[in-house]
Amino acid sequence: MTSPALETRRLSKSFGALVVTNEVDFKLERGARHALIGPNGAGKTTFINLITGRIPHSAGCVLLDGEDVSALPQEARVKRGLGRTFQINTLFPDLSVLENVVMAVSERQGRGGDLFRPAGSRRDIIDEAYDLLERLRLADDALRPVRTIAYGRQRLVEIAIALGLKPKVLLLDEPAAGVPSAETALILDVMAELPAEMAVLIIEHDMDLVFRFARRITVLVQGAVLTEGSPAEILADPRVREVYLGERRHD
């Protein structure tokens, strides 16, 4: 039996007395198209931060490819094939779109620390980054500083940087957050074209997008897993409806 691409076992995190991640057992299979949903403040972003090692966990463990990576720093987990995007744009604002992606490709190839050879002489790296921009329909903006392009396109750069790492596991934190609904189609297109063998976990509020993309859904409420199932199962689950209707009532 092969191990899942990503697994957490009783993963927990508290900030002081506030328990934000509560003994989460979770499996992301190879090639998965998996969504993590839940109301605001449920601890979804924190869950991703724990998996990537951006913040230290309080208890439990994270496994990549069946190996415990809980003690490893962020960069070591990235080297093992873990890529992510951010809910709030986390880009290199003054660098061009192309340079943003070159940065990621260069690090993946282990060239980021080269001291003397000009970065421009690594044509293979720049070509690869440019190919990625073409795939994500960003080529027209290649030389524009990232801060000058439209917000929806910046969200695509978020994804492009992560793809530059050629991750085995990709964690997408609300890729369509703040994007006008007319433009989410482009993001969905890009997600639909992701390599089949890549395991993808997406956090998303746009239920339309979730149900079109995901083949499996986990619902997180107050840091704990409420339920997990196929989209049809989740849609039919009265508890899930209650959580979402309840949230709407509070809004």
């Binding site: 990235v78 986390t90 880009l91 604002p93 990621a104 260069s106 980021g112 620390g113 970065a119 940087i161």
Partner: protein, 330 residues
Amino acid sequence: MTKLDRRTAAVHPVDHIAHSHRLRWPEALPWLLIAATYLLFPSYLALGSQVLIMVLFALSLDLVLGYAGIVTLGHAAFFGLGAYTAGLLAAHGWSEPISALFAAAVVAGAFGAASGAIILRTSGLTLLMLTLAVVSLLAEAANKADSITGGADGLQGIVINPLLGRFDFDLYGRTAYLYCAAVLLVMWYVVRRLVHSPFGRSLTGIRENRLRMHAIGAPVRRRLVTAYAIGAAVAGVAGALQAQTTQFVALNVISFHLSAAVLIILIFGGAGRLYGAFVGAPIYMVAQDMLSRLDPVYWFFWVGLLLVLVVLFARGGILGCVDGVRRRWP
């Protein structure tokens, strides 16, 4: 069409990035000016050497502050270490200047690596305070160790052999000026290679968004310590040049005041552009020369006021303004 569009329209984006490290003609300007100064102002070469040394010092800070984004008030620690290394070697019989430059680079670089490995665990205001603490501690140590450093009287008895065994350091400062210019040229080449390397690009990445650099797997702290150590080594070379060309080392080579001055020079000129040092240092030193004659008591007040104006209205310094103008009027 804006100028940017027209310039880049014909060039494929991949080529644009692939050629970004090529030399462009404005980069020859500083060297033409340095040569012209030698030919046209033979009686100002002593000041000229001082300016070249400050250019080199500010260039080393550009790597640390302008590229890696490490805000430091302690950069003079490395300048001072280099100056004392070269000065002490020369005062104790090692009179060959070029090997002493290497020694200064090694000492300052090693100290930069060691102190950087500790203080670069922090960031922001804490880091700023720690850089200040390091330079203060070192200054106090140099003051206390007066049997070695000469303390407040300064380090005397520095003897420098002729350059390459042939060129005496003459009274008019001609050899010193050419020596400083040659060392600056070599160091500029090294720093330029560095900032165009993947390592240098990754420093810019760390400055722009450290969080993202972590998330793409870059060993952020190691990169910062490396940049800090290299910047320290280059600053050490600048300090050594100062000791060798003036044949004297005063305590003020390790001081908050000098750290602040080099910071001001870089911000005036424009940080993170490689040439801010070349613009800022001559302007600052000539202005200092003139202001301190016009208003010997309060001249630093005017420097401070100018700094406030630059920070408020011209964030990229003088070079930033030049870029802005070129973008608006194609």
